[in-house]
Symmetry: C2
Subunit: 206 residues, 2 copies
Amino acid sequence: MEDIKALFPQFEPELMNEIIANGVIKTIPAGEVLMRTGQFIKSTMLILEGNVKVFRENEDGGEFLMYFLQPGEACAISIICAAKTEASRVMAKTTEETTVLMIPLQLLDRWMLDYKSWYHFVLSTYRNRFDELLVLIDQVAFRNMDERLLSYLERHAKVHNSSIISLSHQQIADELNSSREVVSRLLKKMEQRHMVILHRNAVEMI
Amino acid sequence: MEDIKALFPQFEPELMNEIIANGVIKTIPAGEVLMRTGQFIKSTMLILEGNVKVFRENEDGGEFLMYFLQPGEACAISIICAAKTEASRVMAKTTEETTVLMIPLQLLDRWMLDYKSWYHFVLSTYRNRFDELLVLIDQVAFRNMDERLLSYLERHAKVHNSSIISLSHQQIADELNSSREVVSRLLKKMEQRHMVILHRNAVEMI
DNA sequence: CCTCTGGTGTAACTTTTGTCACTGTGGAAG
DNA sequence: CTTCCACAGTGACAAAAGTTACACCAGAGG
């Protein structure tokens, strides 16, 4: 309860009370899928602890990382889909043990009107995700794989606050929608240029 | 005035009055840039007539088409940037003579609170653009140039309500951030498969 | 008519990325 | 200590896309 306040200091006290009264706290182990493409959204999630990756999927199982959700953030897509009562267009997966606060969607509309702080929170969530999508589009539209790989690693390091990225080449390739060999090749080049050090199941940034 | 009401039937009468009192109608010739990357937004635009293309730009002059704006729509980016008082991250260009209604940004915040219909309009604008960006990301993440070209042509035909796309190969290539030769090559293949007919400065869809 | 220009067609080539095939290896499980 | 197996390295090749270079042609404007 105190940690919720610390994560969302902008929320007014009455809103905090409603959140505490109506929200359900759920802890999800690492690597769990917490939203599936095509699934209907029944509640919105605020991230309290841990880390979530949000993916776009295509028909034949390809994944494509869109962005990370961190403590103090909410999933814009879930709010959007909830508002449209549409099926989710994305898949979300925990990367660590993650605690979320689930809020039934019927409350969202009323809160928008009743609580200014909620209204601002939702709008800034929309805006921030929108901005992230623009950056992502830049990447795929204008950058080659080597640059995309580099900024993927940098982003990952930043989000996890560690210069060591604990992922196999295969996992990295999946999230960039590329192939393991390509990632291995590019990482090897980066190692030769002393940009990274390669370990088993991990890449260390320099 | 009557056409504004017809385009935005959802707006309540008081809001319409404010729009008419405060909005400035401006007509922009075809091919004009009406928002530049890096420019600060001083007003939001509602499209009344014509057609606008919204692009993402990179450092070395590359363009990348994001979406079209049509009568009855608003530019989500301008609302977002205005709200953050940030520089525009996109470039917008008219493709036909276009009439827009410019609304000073200081009104936007108040309208959100005062007019439910404006609030819903802004939210649904956010949502729709968000959805379009998701589709765009699919295209560049999962599709090859031939498929992207095809859906570009289809989208163009739909927006302009005509099976003839009046663009040179060079213009098409620019908007897909590809090169003229690649587009010519792919269009030729499509012609051999009887999917299109090629004319000078135009492509006809079948 | 002639000239010039921008649009188009196309071949040859390079670069980038994806795919296939195979090797080696670290570390967990037996 | 073996046996596996997921992970990683790498060469060879294929496919997609970008680049270079040049030829041709339609139509605008003299």
